[in-house]
Symmetry: C2
Subunit: 343 residues, 2 copies
DNA sequence: CTGAAAGCGCTTACAG
DNA sequence: CTGAAAGCGCTTACAG
């Protein structure tokens, strides 16, 4: 037993007595104050202040059927995302955006099948009103299951996969294609003419869309955009290094490189250094993400910033809309070119 | 409206009907199965499976007075902690340890005074059963307020401050002093005799205890441990660099350096490099934390690893104990020397 | 605008 | 071992 006993907190009944009204009236004040006279409302507010009353959310939820809480669900094999600082920005942003609605965020991790089952049971039992979903391969079956079960869900990132289902999954994402376009236009504006790219995996939206953006700008500009100028990495540093070495072999005269992630770009810089190419003099390098990797070494990376702070607030906004009965929707947010030393 | 309507989930009443027993009996099965015949228990279990029943936690909480949820509270001026990968390990560990108890983790951030007030109101209203508290300067007033209010709290890290209050605050921490001792013993075993230290701020446990460990071992060994061998940093890279430059001026013949954090140690390496000292040949350098900074450059740091995975599971264990009526307690966990290139 | 009343889904003494 | 009943703290039609 703790020596400091917790007193039973005041209930709506205490407030009603203090204010000289019925419990129904107190409840009405609590829920928007409709159909309450100004005098009664003021008396209730005073009584709330005096008693220190705070609503019992369990009692409220029991009757409303809402939980007034939201899950932040991570379906990742956790290691990856928990090492990504962007994940922290997202988590913090969502927590704070929800706090503004007085809604707590429940952090749930569904890495293993057992964890997924637990989470599905918890969520479908109505213990949360909705789910903010974060996973990298957004063809994730859990997204489908949740939508199927009628749970309001907002995913972070564009869903990949069967169009029919995907259409019903609300999501918020940065504009990968346009970001890539902006970077490649920048490289072109620098006078570069042999612009190769290290793309991400083709089963991720970043892999597909950033490559598409690269190709579009080159084609529009009349510059070469053949498959020989494309190598693929797995978003790791080493992957970027290997892919770049491959490109240097195939296209020795390349004068610029658009790399689909900053981490891969760091690997690209290592490969270029080993090959004796100076950056940015011989080869201009552009990254993507504006992650800490961008400034973790020299030269610092010119890159594309994803608006993580806005992504989190938009995710919460869309989810609140869903809870209010709105249709599912997609939000694509603009990116931003950040100029540093590498291009 | 979503096109997939959520059906009203089965209640204890549906289960009772299906099993041919009263709702009281179903509830008893749900709560440990005491005073229930094997036959009745089996019938109830079958009915639960058949109906897909999941307890309504709001109804349960309303009557038990427990919320069966726990807050993970961050009182940091957020930037710092959210950039620390150890924080992620801690958060993930706590989430998963709680999940094993079927208890969701509510992430709460109390950076600003307004946020602190909101959190205090939420917590003291009984919306969570207890708090896992993370903050760097653990003399944090919110810890005191929570304990004062009779809320079960477990802090991460040793509380600093008024002894009386601190004693009542349960906490889990790595053994800073012993970790420092181990590192300094290692430096001594390398044959080093002029071992200086870059300590952390004296208002943090890591600052105080790691310095104490350094001094103890040197004194025991009969090596110099005077104040001229001590400089202070603020846990930042630049702070470590400045402090090291200061030491090099004061003690040009130092042959080893114990730095109270890996990030500061990276700064120390820069200062040593600028001064033309080779590491580890001229100066052996030991860090603390085993953070990513330890392997972010060359040489990789010999350092002291904090057991973050165990810290999280112990925090949850202690909190569960508190909720079960146990007295507050402190858990100090052993650290581990990690040998790499710098010493 | 207001109060009295029903009821949300559960747990827990209380009888038997 | 079991059921009937009270009650947790709220919201919301329903009368007035």
């Amino acid at each position: 037993m703790s020596s400091t006993e917790r007193r039973r907190p005041p209930t709506i009944h205490d407030v009603a007595r203090e204010a000289g009204v019925s419990r129904g009236t107190v409840s009405r004040v609590l829920n928007g104050g409709h159909n309450v006279s100004p005098a009664a409302a003021e008396a209730v507010r005073a009584a709330i202040r005096k008693t220190g009353y705070v609503v019992n959310r369990h009692a409220r939820s029991l009757i409303t059927g809402r939980s007034d809480s939201v899950a932040f669900l991570l379906t990742e094999p956790q290691e990856k995302l928990f090492e990504d600082p962007n994940f922290n920005v997202l988590l913090r942003g969502c927590t704070q955006a929800l706090a503004a609605h007085d809604i707590p965020l429940l952090l749930m991790i569904a890495g293993t099948p057992a964890e997924r089952r637990r989470v599905m049971r918890y969520v479908t039992a109505g213990h949360v009103d909705g789910v903010l979903l974060v996973s990298s391969h957004t063809g994730d079956p859990i997204a489908e299951q949740l939508v199927e079960a009628g749970i309001p869900v907002v995913a972070c990132g564009k869903p990949i996969g069967r169009k029919g289902r995907a259409a019903r999954l609300s999501h918020v994402a940065a504009d990968d294609r346009d970001g890539a376009r902006e970077m490649v236009r920048h490289l072109v504006s620098l006078g570069r003419r042999r612009i190769a790219t290290v793309a991400g995996p083709m089963d991720t939206p970043g892999g597909v869309d950033r490559l598409a953006g690269w190709r579009e700008v080159l084609t529009e500009t009349g510059l070469p955009a053949g498959d020989d100028l494309v190598a693929h990495g797995d978003y790791s540093r080493d992957g970027g290094e290997r892919a770049t070495a491959e490109l240097l072999e195939r296209v020795p005269d390349l004068d610029a490189l658009f790399v689909a992630s900053d981490l891969m770009a760091r690997g690209a810089l290592a490969a270029l250094d080993r090959a004796g190419r100076r950056v940015p003099e011989d080869v201009a390098v552009g990254g993507f993400d504006d992650s800490p990797a961008a400034v973790a070494g020299l030269p610092e990376l010119t890159t594309i910033r994803q608006p993580w702070d806005r992504i989190s607030s938009e995710m919460v906004r869309v989810l609140m809309g869903l809870l209010g009965g709105e249709e599912s929707s997609a939000v694509i947010l603009p990116t931003e070119l950040v100029r540093r030393g590498s291009a």
